[in-house]
């Protein structure tokens, strides 16, 4: 859901290098923590999950400018840690095909990987208490919200979004730097507010609507998939206890 479609050349070098380092270290740590024998048996399953994510990401949901991620579902089905690995693999393949920049893979993995980690952990904690379907809805919603918050924080940090006002940073910077007199400043401020009001209000409203629709659809479809599994293969949702990451 919160896949950042940033092209190459937009994100400052320090950010994307840090994103790559953190996500690669996380992937290595996860792969080191799981037992080699256990992860070997799960590789085809992880790969199938990644392939399903790749395919579903290319299916649009009608008129909503949105595609499913199923990162939370990956966290629930293959485990939170391995779900993160799935997200890395999917993002890398997508980037090679131009769907998001190759330099943004690390940041995208962190942003979407949080969905897999949080969704998987929350689902494991909740399913025994409130049932599979309600816990799926809650876990997916929390995971997508956290992941989206992370994405917005990141975009605001690189100056793409101003969280407080919703105004584009570049627009504000232009005004801050021109050192105009008091009257001119007032006129410009009024002009900026009007332009911001017309542009950013529409922008934020649209973003919020898409965000809500996205969260609802992702949670609903994930819950329906889990319900389907509970009917036909409950052993996949409630496997024999293990300490897999």
């Amino acid at each position: 859901m919160s896949h950042v479609h940033l092209p190459d050349g937009v994100v400052p070098t320090i950010w994307w290098v840090a994103g790559y380092l953190i996500s690669l270290v996380t992937v290595f740590v996860i792969l080191k923590r799981v037992e080699a024998e256990k992860v070997r048996g799960k590789i085809p399953e992880i790969a199938m999950m990644a392939a399903v994510m790749l395919i579903t990401m290319s299916v649009p949901l009608g008129f909503i400018p949105f595609h499913m991620n199923f990162a939370a579902l990956a966290g629930m089905l293959v485990g939170p840690g391995l779900g993160f690995v799935v997200v890395f693999v999917v993002n890398f393949i997508l980037a090679l095909l131009g769907h998001g920049g190759i330099t943004v893979v690390g940041l995208n993995t962190l942003s979407v990987g949080v969905e897999a980690l949080v969704g998987g952990v929350a689902f494991r904690l909740l399913k025994g208490k409130i049932g599979s379907v309600p816990s799926t809805i809650i876990s997916t919603t929390v995971a997508v919200l956290l992941s989206t918050a992370l994405m917005v924080l990141f975009l605001s940090s690189i100056g793409m979004v101003d969280i407080r006002s919703g105004e584009g940073m570049l627009h504000r910077d232009n005004h801050a730097g021109d050192g105009a007199s008091g009257q001119d400043e007032g006129l410009r401020h009024e002009d900026a507010a009007y332009r911001f009001g017309r542009m950013a209000l529409a922008g934020w409203a649209a973003v919020l609507v898409v965000l809500c629709l996205g969260i609802i659809s992702e949670s609903a479809v994930t819950a329906l998939v889990i319900r389907f599994f509970m009917k036909v293969r409950p052993d996949m949702i409630n496997p024999t206890p293990n300490k897999d990451w």
């Binding site: 399903v52 009608g62 996949m236």
Partner: protein, 238 residues
């Protein structure tokens, strides 16, 4: 997704770039990516994109598929460029050209190099498990692709997809994904057993003959050096 078409181009192509080894092509793509990212003026970027287009042309890559795939980076660069256009036209165009140029570079690698070869090369540097996941994902993608497309087709034929009925689409999408996942997990377990029978013990064996530098490799390396030199000289002149 066009992965199948890109793979067909990479596997069936006979151009000089298709015959070159993975290390030399990776070197060239890294040089291209670096120059695209580092260049700060529209003219240099325009020249680099022209070079990339010529490379695609020489490699006889089908532009129809590439154009489809370029739509994503172009569209999303345009969104960010709209902010930059407030600063100047050049800043806006820089964002678009950088996004599109970088995507053209990675697509060039994929259109001239089979996926398996790329990951076979990376297996020397990445953990074996991760490389196995990449290779299995690649294999699984093609197995599932046909299945999903026929499932989606039958869903549409039976009236299960409507552009303006999101609720219906969501319900049917969930059933489709559930069915595909279920089938794919069962298939993955079967596939794993088959791999075990064939001697799989954590690491798909890949042949590496990259130390042999042929004539195509030399051409690709010389081109890489020329691209970087062109970029550095442009810096000096400016």
């Amino acid at each position: 997704m066009h992965l199948a078409e890109i793979d067909r181009m990479a596997s069936n192509g006979t151009s000089l770039f298709h015959r070159a080894g993975v290390p030399s092509k990776l070197l060239m793509v890294l040089c291209l990516l670096w120059t695209v990212m580092a260049s700060g003026d529209v003219l240099t970027l325009g020249a680099l994109i022209a070079v990339l287009l010529v490379l695609h042309l020489v490699a006889r890559v089908q532009f129809k598929e590439i154009a489809h795939l370029l739509f994503y980076p172009f569209f999303f660069s345009l969104l960010f460029a709209l902010l930059k256009f407030q600063e100047s036209w050049a800043s806006g165009f820089l964002v678009i050209l950088k996004g599109t140029g970088a995507a053209l570079a990675t697509l060039f690698l994929l259109a001239t190099t089979p996926w398996v070869e790329v990951f076979a090369f990376l297996s020397a540097y990445l953990p074996g498990t991760l490389v196995d996941i990449f290779l299995f994902t690649y294999r699984s993608f093609f197995i599932l692709l046909d299945q999903v497309s026929s499932l989606l087709r039958s869903m549409r034929v039976r009236g299960g997809y409507h552009p303006f009925n999101v609720v219906m689409n969501l319900k049917n999408m969930a059933s489709t994904v559930g069915l595909v996942l279920l089938h794919s997990f069962e298939m993955s377990q079967r596939m794993y057993r088959i791999y075990l029978l064939r001697g799989y013990d954590g690491g798909i064996p890949v042949a590496r003959r990259w130390w042999k530098l042929g004539y195509p490799d030399v051409v690709v390396i010389v081109l890489s050096v020329l691209i970087v030199m062109g970029m550095v000289i442009a810096w000096r002149l400016l």
